[in-house]
Amino acid sequence: MAGHATKQIDSKTLWGGKISPFSTSYGKLMMWFFLVSDALTFSGLLISYGFTRHDYLGSWPIGEETFHSLPLLEGNYPLIYVALMTFILIVSSVTMVLAVEAGHRMDRKAVTKWMIATIIGGFFFVGSQAWEWSHFIHGTEFGRVELADGSQAIVKGNFGEIESFTVTVAGHHHQVNDKITEDLKHLYTHAVAEGHVHNDIITLHDGSQATIAKKANSDMTLIVKEFGGTYKMGDEVKGAEAVKMYEEAVNAGEKNRIIYGANLEQNEYGPQHYGQFFFFITGFHGFHVFSGVMINILILFGVLRGVYHKRGHYEMVEKTGLYWHFVDLVWVFVFTFFYLV
């Protein structure tokens, strides 16, 4: 029994009933009971996700096709970002267990050091998750396209840069021959989603119309996710034909032919309930991480003020440690069932 001294329990540490169930303190046992109930909640969420996935007739989004971006970098990095998040959380779990170990040696300086490291790791994780959500909500450059036969496809490839819009019909804000060079991607995706791009003419918010100067898309692959008249699930269209079919959808001038990102009403990546489960499960977990960081900060204040040192033991650090490891534990399962399989 590593880390436990053999010592008679004095009357002060015994529970009210003059006995200590399982030889643990009241606080630690209650923390464990709370964690079991929380584990049941998370399991319920993940299993209902599995239920939905098993009864779904279409094709479910695949982790490495959905999550393949890194901040500040272009290109395809399947799962690297979530792997990094997982690593950050594991490391912060390690620093937490080191803080607990230092607490057992009554080494206040080391406890402080490792608690700070844990808090930093926690903030990094929450920040990463914020980026991930932002990316998930805003969507990819291409979006999800509805092809002419009614099938739905996700798109891979290089998005040709948009250079400028030149106004041909004046609106409230723009005169004829105005050249718009700012915020192009946002204006473009918004107009495409709304069906305001027709035959290479974009209609802007203010009613003005403009021609689009844009480099050609290349290396495109359309992967069919929902079958239509011609294409079946899993069909891939590549090369010039893919570019042509995509352009046709962009220029159709129909609302929702192309969908960008995910929210509670639309979802680029797959069925709507996939998005809902993503937001709920990763959100609920993120909330746990956030509250864990806050609790860790409170405990750190206690450590700095010497509260636990005076008390003669660092059990409070151990108890928050349990909660923090639990957050890591949940993430291990979320990582597997949301991103890997």
Binding site: S25, V94, F326
Partner: protein
């Protein structure tokens, strides 16, 4: 009367520097194992497609590796392995009974709905 059934108590869980060094070594070993498993999972996940013939093996491998990781976190980091047997089983057994049952029920039901929908929509 001295009670010999409750001689260990976590509030008094102090240890000396030597034990600490040993524990820290073990912590770093577990860290390495967890990181290594995650790296393997990501490598396999990006190499083998879900349409591959090996996917079923990989999928169950992922689930197995996840359980290994979870075991290390719970038993080593959360020190459940060091607690009394009674506590260990009070935590694990009710949880596993409920969850295995829930997995069985919901996945069976999900598959049944899938089969019925396929039949009636084709």
């Amino acid at each position: 009367m001295l009670r010999d059934d409750i001689i260990e108590y976590s509030l008094d869980a102090h240890h000396d520097e030597d034990t600490g060094a040993k524990l820290r070594k073990k912590i770093w070993q577990v860290t390495f194992i967890l990181t290594f498993i995650t790296a393997i999972e990501v490598a396999l996940g990006s190499m083998i497609k879900q349409s591959s013939d090996y996917w079923m093996i990989i999928k169950w491998l992922f689930i197995g590796l996840t359980l290994v990781k979870a075991g290390y976190i719970v038993l080593s980091f959360m020190h459940l392995g060091d607690e009394r047997k009674g506590l260990k089983y009070v935590i694990l057994i009710p949880y596993f009974i409920f969850i295995l049952y829930l997995i069985f029920v919901l996945i069976t039901e999900g598959n049944a709905i899938f089969a019925n929908l396929t039949e009636f929509t084709s």
